[in-house]
């Protein structure tokens, strides 16, 4: 889909603002950014700097006001709501700060969720889920519900869910923000492995400098403006 020289994420002159009590508040201003295929990028910055907003725009869960946003050759900013949903399901793996697992589903069922929207058979889905859970070393916890797992284990289930459709990019919003140090290390190690061994492009928003150390490129956002910091 993309040549080696083409970045997997291409952002040009991106603007985003929110309406707060009839007043338009700019969040991102004239953002231009390229993320190479197989990159591990950390987006850092203080609260309110717009880093999560930028991540949401890249992941196709929010719309920019203007500018170009292309991911894997697809102009995401031009897709309709329905097209975006299908695109997200196929191309983006999400890792959230609070794991966002469905509490009434088991680890297995949570990981299986994105596959329910694909034409895979039950047997094929089962094989994929088992593999993903093995990759995050949770194959023995597949019948456990999120409430029966530790924070680190829940985040590993979330990573397995993010991986299950073999997405183009993995987006992680403060993936270690709710974890103790040991669990955070495990999760970061896993993300690092996915990037290095499986060549997954990872874009991670974080406050934590230790988490950012795992990234190969770090970009800082401040008051909606992007600065480059070499890792």
């Amino acid at each position: 889909m993309t040549s080696p020289s083409t970045p997997i994420v291409e952002i040009r002159n991106l603007f985003k603002s929110y309406l707060r009590s009839s007043q338009r508040v700019p969040v991102l201003e004239d953002i231009t950014l390229d993320v190479a295929d197989g990159e591990f990028l950390a987006l850092m910055g203080p609260s309110g700097s717009g880093k999560s907003t930028l991540l949401n725009l890249i992941a196709g869960i929010d719309h920019p006001d203007s500018g170009l946003l292309r991911v894997g050759g697809v102009e995401v900013s031009a897709l309709s709501e329905g097209e975006l949903a299908a695109w997200r399901a196929a191309h983006v793996g999400f890792i959230f700060q609070f794991y966002n697992l469905i509490p009434v589903l088991t680890a297995f069922e949570n990981v299986e969720l994105p596959l329910l929207l694909t034409p895979l058979s039950r047997k094929e889905r089962h094989e994929h889920v088992a593999l993903a859970l093995r990759l995050v070393s949770l194959e023995d916890r597949m019948d456990h519900r999120p409430g029966q797992l530790s924070g680190g284990q829940q985040q590993r289930v979330a990573i397995a869910r993010a991986l299950i459709t073999d997405p183009t990019i993995l987006v992680a919003d403060e993936p270690t923000g709710d974890l103790d140090r040991e669990s955070a290390e495990e999760v970061l190690g896993l993300m690092d492995r996915l990037n290095r061994e499986f060549g997954k492009t990872v874009i991670m928003v974080t406050h934590d400098p230790r988490a950012a150390e795992k990234a190969r490129v770090i970009r800082h956002l401040e008051k909606g403006l992007l600065n480059h910091v070499p890792a």
Partner: protein, 385 residues
């Protein structure tokens, strides 16, 4: 399949909340069902009326009687096949609170007109032979523990004195809606007694019951009968048995309307309560809906999950309420037998109950479904933690 699993597990997520909502809906459906049954019981006489039976009474009021001599003239009217007569007796059994309808009737013709009052051949024969004999409905006999052969004394109110009868038969209803709480005795016994004690009240009839050869002759025959006695001292009013019964029901029109309104109010209240519960549930799960949308599930999936849960809870409550309606109606029927002869849950109540429960589920699910389906993902994801 996934959606069903999600609906079921979400419904069982807060067991106490779901159980209380189900119980609330069940109680509302029970109340709704019982009130509809009560309205149905009110119309029992109308429902049990035969299309080929007419009632002729004094045009001024039921309180006024008609001469016995009208019988032969009515019999001559085209289409009239059978005729019987009777009087509302209004007797009291021991105490006023023991109310039940009691009539003096021309026995042979009356039983002929009312084949739904089923008596054994032996009891019928014994009743017809004994001038002081009487028959009672099975429910009435059960209520007072009467057996065939018992002596029953009624204290007359319209016809003064103590009237002694011998119970010669206990009739059963041919159909489920046949009133089995009535008491009949010989009109001749009443009339002969009147001849002796109050001759001016003798040979006076409260109503004539007329059997037509064909129901479609009702309007024509009614007009012909009333025409016969136009401008006489006792003008008549002839109407179908159904219209006659409806005139009684219409006297209680305001009460029936009030019961109808209350039954709807009960459903509206539980709709609001269920809608509030579902809205609260949806609010708590906004982040989950946002997560599902993030993963590619669309508005239909989210709306289906919320709507399905709302319907599942409402219909569970509805079915539970419906199942409770039957024993509750049986108990109420037993306790109120003297006022309500037949308190039977009509088949349409089942559908009304289920429709009401489904309406509760639909209404309660609309807003939360819409909210879940239209949630902005970025905002929804911020709701967690």
């Amino acid at each position: 399949m996934f959606l069903l699993k999600l609906i079921l597990r979400n419904a069982l997520r807060h067991k106490l909340r779901s159980a209380l909502t189900v119980v609330g809906i069940a109680v509302a459906i029970l109340a709704f069902g019982l009130l509809r049954t009560l309205i149905g019981a009110w119309y029992l006489g109308v429902e049990a009326s035969a299309a080929n039976r007419l009632v002729t009474r004094n045009a001024i009021s039921l309180v006024f009687s008609l001469p016995l001599s009208y019988k032969d003239r009515i019999k001559q009217v085209d289409g009239v096949e059978k005729i019987s007569l009777g009087n509302w007796f209004g007797g009291i059994y021991i105490d006023r609170k023991n109310f039940f309808p009691n009539f003096a009737v021309e026995t042979v013709s009356y039983l002929d007109l009312y084949p739904e009052f089923v008596l054994s051949a032996q009891e019928k024969s014994a009743f017809l032979r004994d001038r002081r004999g009487a028959v009672a409905g099975a429910k009435l006999a059960e209520r007072f523990g009467w057996q065939v052969g018992d002596q029953v004394t009624l204290q007359g109110t319209i016809f003064p004195g103590n009237w002694e009868f011998v119970l010669r038969g206990i009739y059963r209803g041919l159909r489920a809606n046949t009133d089995q709480s009535q008491f009949f005795f010989h009109w001749d016994y009443l009339n002969e007694t009147m001849k002796k004690t109050a001759p001016r009240r003798a040979d006076q009839v409260g109503f004539y019951m007329i059997g037509l050869a064909h129901p479609e002759q009702a309007a024509q025959a009614s007009a012909a009968i009333d025409g016969l006695f136009k401008n006489s001292l006792a003008e008549t009013l002839t109407e179908t048995e159904k219209a006659f019964q409806l005139s009684f029901v219409s006297m209680s029109g305001a009460i029936i309307t009030a019961i109808r309104i209350v039954s709807i109010v009960v459903i509206v209240i539980i709709m609001v309560v269920a809608a509030n519960t579902m809205a609260m549930t949806a609010r708590e799960r906004i982040a989950e809906y946002a997560t599902l949308k993030t993963l590619g599930f669309d508005a239909r999936h989210i709306a289906g999950a919320v709507f399905g849960e709302s319907l599942l809870i409402a219909l569970t409550g509805g079915v539970l309420g419906l199942l409770l309606t039957y024993p509750a109606a049986a108990e109420i029927g037993r306790r109120l037998a003297q006022f309500i002869p037949v308190f039977r849950v009509p088949p349409e109540t089942i559908w009304l109950d289920l429709a009401a429960a489904a309406a509760v589920g639909v209404v309660a699910g609309i807003f939360p479904s819409w909210r879940g389906a239209t949630i902005n993902i970025a905002e929804g994801l911020r709701r967690i933690g």
